[in-house]
Each structure stands twice: as C-alpha cells, then as structure tokens.
Amino acid sequence: MPSPARRRVWAVAPFDLDFRPGERSARRAVRVSGPFPGQKDQERETVAINAEYIGREYPAPEPYEVTRGKIREFAEAINDPNPVYVDRAAAEAAGYPDVIAPPTFPVILGMAGSAYAVADPELGVDFSRVVHGDQSFHYSRPLRAGDVLTAVTRITDVKTLGGNGMLTLETVATAADGEHVVTAGMMLVVRGE
C-alpha cells in the first residue's frame, strides 16, 4: 500500500494572495512541484487573478431581446427539432405564450457577460488561454420570444489551481417586470504555460 506521505497536493498556491491593493492580475513565473511523484520541480508560468476583483459587476449595456428568429437559429445550431422552439402553436399547446428557448440558450447572455470581464484590462485575462471549465443554469422559467432581459454579470470567485487561473462568474437575467428568469454560472480556466 502506498504511503500517504507520497501523495502530493497539486493545489492552491499561496502566491495568488500576494497582490498589492489595485495591482492587476498577472502571469508570473514561479517554481512549482511536478504533479506526479518523482517528477522534477519546474519553472512554470502561472496565471494568477487578483482576488480583489471578487464582487466586481458588469451590467449589460442594454437589455437583451429574445426573438423567435434567434431562438430558431440557436435550435438549428444544436440540431434540436423540438417544435416548441420554432412553432408558436406547439408552444401554446404546451402552455407557453410564445416559442421558448432551449435550456442552454441563456449562455448567450453569460458569454456576453464573460466577454466584459475578460476584456477588463485590470483583470488582465488573456482570452487566447481561456477554456470553459463548468457551466450551470438555474431557471425560474424558460426564456421565451418577447422577453426583454436585463443581465448583470458578477465575479463570484477567483483562484489559482495547478498554475491555472480560475475565474467564476454569475449572470443574473431578469425580465422587464423584475421577475427573475435565469441565473447562469460559468467557471473559466485561464491556462498557465
């Protein structure tokens, strides 16, 4: 049985806490342990995002209008023939006032919100190194044609793990009458070298 002492934790490094107030996020060359037992330590460029930016908000500059044409385009792009996305009569028969959008449609709002964060020069994220880590949606109801949604994206967490920066964002979309429609959560991995 392998000794527990041989197990290495390839985990949160303390260096991402070293930011001075107002300092932007950065890629830093640091010495880290190899991920596997026996692997040499190595110089590695690490992505670190300043934790000071947790809570920063990026409101969408204008409301997002959900249209039948955009829902149809999205449903066709995911090759989903469900009639409630394109046929108003089918949607009404299912109890909706108009065609509804596929469950992952609100990623359009989340993606736009993440673009504002990624473009934030103070955050210092290199878009070319961004990979999507996880995604969640919590719906109060499905999006439907005719919705005019206000979206606000907020940074909910940043960390550094294994040399990669991890940026967690939450986009809350509300209807014109203030009703909550969907909250989209997204974790982006900013890959180190």
Partner: protein, 140 residues
C-alpha cells in the same frame, strides 16, 4: 406528451443518443451563440495553444446532453437546474466524419415536490467529456 412524475423511478434510464459533430456544426454554433474563440474553428490556433486539434464548444456538448434530457421529458421548459463540468475536450478533426458524442442518463432521485434529479453522462473518443452533469426537472 410530457413525461409524468408517476411514470419515473429512481434508476430509470434515459434513452441514449449519439450526436455527430463536424467542423460545420462548430461554425454554425459559434455564430448562434456568439462564442468565436478560435480554438473552436482554427486548427493552427488550437495547436499553437497546446490543443491536439480544434475542439468543440463545451456548450455544444452541454446542449446535446440537454437534448437527451428534454427529448425524454417532452417539455424543455420543465428544466429547473442544469449544470455540467467539462472534463475533457471533444476533438473535432477536419474531415467528413467529425466526432461523435454519446449521451446517456439515469434518474438518481425522486423528490416530493414533483421534481426528479437526473445524472447525465457524455463520452467522445473514449473520454468522459462531461463530469458532475446533473439536472433537476419538474414533471407533470
């Protein structure tokens, strides 16, 4: 015809489906979603950042896994929660075959409020491409 809560048990399996994804699907998805990250359409760029080839949008895989869920329930509006972690990329070669994503699912819990918890699985090229892929759906 929507699925009813009474028709479902813990352990009920969702019908498995396999989805083909080609470069054209990624271009179309990029346009529809607004995600134009070049790793999803530019092989030269994808390789320059250490990827084996162009990879599918994670959200494309999440959308296809969502189809297994909504085809099963009948009503896509019944989804209350849906979350996934992208555990491996779906590598999409530049040929007419592309890649396959195979999605299955199983009911893990039946709740008193009329909802059920579903665990979805997705595989491509021998790799598990979604992890912790769970959904809560409200049934009639």
């Amino acid at each position: 015809m929507s699925l009813r809560h009474a028709d479902v048990e813990v352990g009920t399996e969702l019908p498995e489906q396999t989805f083909r994804v080609r470069r054209l699907d990624l271009v179309r998805y990029a346009g529809a979603s607004g995600d134009f990250n070049p790793i999803h359409w530019n092989e030269r760029f994808a390789k320059s950042v250490g990827l084996p080839d162009v990879i599918a949008h994670g959200m494309f895989t999440m959308a296809e896994a969502g189809r297994v869920l909504t085809d099963w329930t009948g009503d896509p509006g019944c989804v209350v929660d849906y979350s996934v972690r992208f555990s491996a990329p779906v590598v999409v070669p530049d040929d007419d075959e592309g890649a396959d994503i195979t999605v299955g699912g199983k009911v893990k819990a039946k709740n008193d409020d009329g909802t059920v918890n579903v665990l979805l699985t997705a595989r491509s090229g021998g790799a598990k491409v979604l992890a912790k892929s769970t959904a809560v759906v409200r049934l009639a």
